[in-house]
Structure formats: C-alpha cells, structure tokens
C-alpha cells in the first residue's frame, strides 16, 4: 500500500532521512523502532506530507505522493497522529473530532465515524462538551487517536502513542490499535514501550541516524540480541 524508496528529508540544511526504503502492505502493522532524535517522527511526517523538503519516492497505491501536502493526502486517506497530540486546546472534544473530519472525503462519513469513535472510546463520549485542554494525558491521547480516525483514513501513521501515558493505559492503546487494524486499517507506528504493539507487527524496522539499520519480522527482531537489548528492553 505504501512503498517508500530512496527517501531523503531535510529541515533547512539538516539532512534527517538518508535514502530510506520501507514497505507497508495493505492491512499490515509496521513498527518503527530506533533511538530518539534519529528521524522516526520525520519519517512518519514525510509520508504524511508534513515535511517541506523531501526527495525520493513515496508510492501510495502505486501513485507517487512525495512532496504532496497533508491537506491533499488527508483527503486521500493518509493521516498522521502526532506524538505530542497537537489538539485544539480551546475547543471541545466534539469540535476536535469534527475537525478531524475536515477533509472533503471524510465529511460524508462524519456521523458514522463519530459513532464508531465513541464506541471505541466511550470515555470521550462523556467528555464531548469539555475543552480539550482540560483532559487528562490519557484522555488527550485517546482524543488524538480518535481525531485521526475521524478522517476516514485507510492508512494511519501513529507517532509514539505511549508518550506520557501511564503504564496501565498502554494496554488500552494496544487494544485500540489491534481493533482498528482488525477492521482493515493499515498502520505504521513508532513505538517501543508497548510490547503488545510489537506483538502485532508484521514487519519491524529500525531507524538509526536517518537510515534503516534493520528490517525483519518480529521473530527476527526478538532473536537479534543487539536489538533486544537496546530497543525492546527485554
């Protein structure tokens, strides 16, 4: 579904991603590991049209989307869920969700997706009229994921969903990801603190210094002592 080839990304003069290649098949969960500050977020953002300077090719259903902006890509079903959530703090939970369905292709499904999201996150349903800035860390994380789902996406790039979450909520995040994946969602996720998410992975990549240093199945990753020690903490 997504095929990245020779992807380079820059922030100003800073060369962040160097010839990255990666594949995410339809309905798969692909997990991206790697030390902080080595370009994992940049990779997700590049795929989702949120980085200004990218070269190389990103094929989405065989169409090159490298260089297209998020406003176009969201409409085509590619959505980014930010690690720092990026909610609209002075809007209600419901308004945040409605803005999640901003793109033209999501509008006709707003009602249906709202119901779906509320059944996945019953707590958000209770918090509908509350301002997003007053939510707890866990609720805000759920809202960020829920807002992403409102876009009617077929591909989600989820950036460190465990960031700022209490350990007991990590299971919940893993469950949600399992559920939406089982409904057919293709997912590229950066996450190394939730073992259950790694369990879901069809493929694992490791990104170090802007380059892919490992690619393989979770069995390969788990049998790789170097990886196990550094990233999986097992």
């Amino acid at each position: 579904m997504i095929k990245v080839e020779g992807l380079n990304a820059y922030y100003g003069d800073f060369h962040v991603l160097k010839d990255v290649c990666l594949k995410v098949g339809k309905g798969q969960v692909v997990v991206m590991l790697g030390p902080n500050g080595h370009g994992k977020s940049t990779l997700l953002k590049s795929v989702c049209g949120l980085v200004d300077r990218v070269t190389g090719s990103i094929l989405y259903n065989d169409e090159n989307i490298a260089g297209l902006k998020a406003e176009k890509l969201v409409n085509q079903g590619i959505t980014y869920i930010a690690e720092n959530r990026e909610l609209f703090g002075e809007m209600t939970v419901l308004e945040n969700l409605k803005l999640g369905a901003y793109s033209r292709s999501a509008r006709p499904f707003e009602k249906k997706n709202l119901e779906k999201v509320f059944s996945l996150f019953p707590r958000l349903k209770d918090r509908r009229p509350q301002l997003a800035s007053t939510l707890s860390g866990g609720e805000a994380r759920m809202l960020a994921i829920a807002r992403g789902l409102m876009s009617n996406a077929s591909f989600l790039a989820i950036d460190e969903p465990s960031l700022g979450l209490q350990p007991n909520l990590r299971d919940e995040v893993a469950n949600i990801i399992r559920q939406i994946n089982s409904q057919g969602m293709t997912i590229l996720v950066v996450e190394q603190n939730i073992p259950q998410i790694i369990e879901l992975a069809d493929t694992i990549y490791v990104l170090e210094e802007g380059q892919i240093s490992f690619e393989g199945s979770k069995e390969d990753a788990l049998s790789n002592d170097h990886l196990k020690e550094i990233f999986l903490g097992m």
Binding site: C48, L50, A70, E71, L73, V74, N75, T79, Y80, I81, A82, E86, L87, F88, G89, E90, M91, E95, K98, L99, G100, Y102, S103, R147, S151
Partner: protein, 290 residues
C-alpha cells in the same frame, strides 16, 4: 449636565462599537498568523474612499448598494494582498519583521496614491440615515444608532461565522494550533489569506461607518491604526474578547477625556492607560502572550 454626560456616553459607545469591529479584525490576523499589518489604517481609508467613489457614480445612491459592492471589493483586495505580498515572506526567516516592513511600505504607497487620486482635501460621505430621535433636550441622530447596530451586527456575524461554519472552525484551529490544523488537512495558506481578507472587510467597513462623522483624508488611517493597535495590545494580543472590552473602554475614555479635558488630550490618555496596563499586566486584559 446630565444630558451632556449621556451624550458623551453615547458617543463613546458608538465609536467604541466601530473600534471593536476594527480591533477584532486586527487581533484576528495576529491571532491566526502572528503577523502584524501596518497597512491596516490605510485599509480603513480605502473603505471610505471606495464608498466615496461609489456614491460619485450616478447609479448608486443608497448605502445598501454601497455595502453590497464594497464588501466583495475589500474581500478580494485583502485576499490578493495577502497572497501577493505577505504569503511569499512566510517561508523566510524572521518573516514577522519582514511582514511589518512590507505592510508599512504598502501603507505609504496607498496613502500617497489616495493623495494623488483624491487630493488632500477631506472627503465626506452622506449620513447612513437622516433625522434624529428627540426627547426633550436629548437628541440622538438615527445615523449613530445605525452605525452602532451595523458594527455590533458585524461582530456578531463574525462570531457566528467562527463558531458555526467549517471555514470559521478552521480559522480557530489554525489560531490555536497550526501544526494540528495541518495534520487534520486544513489548508493553512488559504486560512491565512481568508483571515486577512476578512479583517480587511472589517476595517474597511469601519472606514465607511466612521467617515460619515469624521471625514476621509489620505493619511487619516494612521490615527485608526494607532487606536486599533492600542486596543489590541490593551485587550491582549490575539484575544477577541479582550479586544471587545478594550474597544469600548477606549471609546468611552476618549469621549470623556475629550469632553472634559479637550480633544488634544485623548491620545495621551489612551497611551497613559495602555502603558499602565502593560506595566502591570504585560499580556493585556485577557491576553495569551506569544
């Protein structure tokens, strides 16, 4: 004496309402794009001149027609100015300063163009409505009532737009979190241009409304820019509610200081209040700094 005080109060409220309309526009641009528009005052004069030109044509003799033509003109003008002058700067470093410089240049260009085209003599517009309401000594021109209603109506309409339309929601989204707005697929560039255009309409309408009372001159916009800026800073940069309160405070202050001490004191009083407020509360009345 009492009648006099009521007159001053009403005049303060009426000017305050127009100031509110214009200051909300200025704070809107700042709140959404963090840009400061130095040509804002010249857009005020432009509103007045557009109305003056329209009244000069034989076909147009009613304000309703003037508004119907002036609003789309101002909207288009604002949109294209943003696209042509401001938007290209946004990609550069220190673009905020560059936007100030270019809008300052635009202001000088516009003011001088007004001077060339219309001459330096004051121009006036016919009153919105003729006649007065009288009760004993108390006299209230219908024109003033109309100005007040239109200004407040404009603000309410804008509020409705922000809260109830998709574009309005995207404007709020960009103001609150530009990165979040991009993520959900809001076209940020379009929102910047649209808010610039809307603020141009707000200040241009202010020009049309106030020109009936205070005339139009090529450089008359500077006074308005200063006042709108004082109101915006006083109310809190980027806070629409703050601008509303501040506009009425400034309108009333101006009216009472002008009446009691003389018109020359009004600007001094405004700056005294602004400086005191900022010394005590640097973020303004209801501001979110930065």
């Amino acid at each position: 004496m009492l009648i006099e005080i009521i007159d001053v109060l009403i005049s303060g409220l009426i000017n305050g309402s127009v100031y509110a309309l214009m200051a909300v526009g200025l704070t809107l641009i700042y709140g959404v794009s963090k840009a400061f528009n130095f040509a804002y005052g010249s857009f005020y004069s432009m509103g007045g001149y557009i109305a003056f030109l329209l009244f000069g044509t034989a076909l147009i003799n009613h304000y309703l027609l003037v508004f119907c033509l002036a609003i789309p003109l101002l909207l288009l003008f604002g949109f294209f100015i943003e696209k042509l002058l401001v938007a290209p700067l946004r990609k550069r470093d220190d673009w905020e300063i560059k936007v100030m410089m270019i809008t300052l240049g635009l202001a000088l260009f516009l003011d001088n163009s007004f001077q060339v085209v219309f001459g330096s003599r004051m121009k006036s517009l016919p009153p919105l409505l003729e006649g007065t309401f009288e009760a004993g000594e108390f006299i209230l021109p219908y024109q003033d009532v109309a100005i007040f209603i239109l200004s407040i109506g404009g603000i309410l309409l804008f509020r409705w737009f922000l809260n109830n339309t998709r574009t309005g929601m995207s404007v709020r989204a960009v103001a609150q979190n530009p990165a979040g707005a991009q993520i959900v697929g809001i076209p940020k560039e379009f929102v910047f241009a649209a808010t610039f255009a809307i603020s141009t309409v707000m200040v241009g309408m202010g020009g049309i409304l106030l020109a009936q009372k205070y005339f139009i001159t090529p450089t008359g916009g500077w006074d308005i820019l200063v006042k709108a800026w004082v109101i915006t800073a006083f109310g809190g940069m980027g806070s629409i509610k703050g601008s509303l309160y501040a506009a009425f405070i400034v309108g009333l202050l101006e009216a009472f200081v002008g009446w009691y001490f003389g018109m020359t004191w009004t600007l001094i009083a405004l700056f005294a209040v602004l400086l005191t407020t900022l010394a005590v509360r640097p973020q303004g009345l209801m501001g979110k700094w930065g």
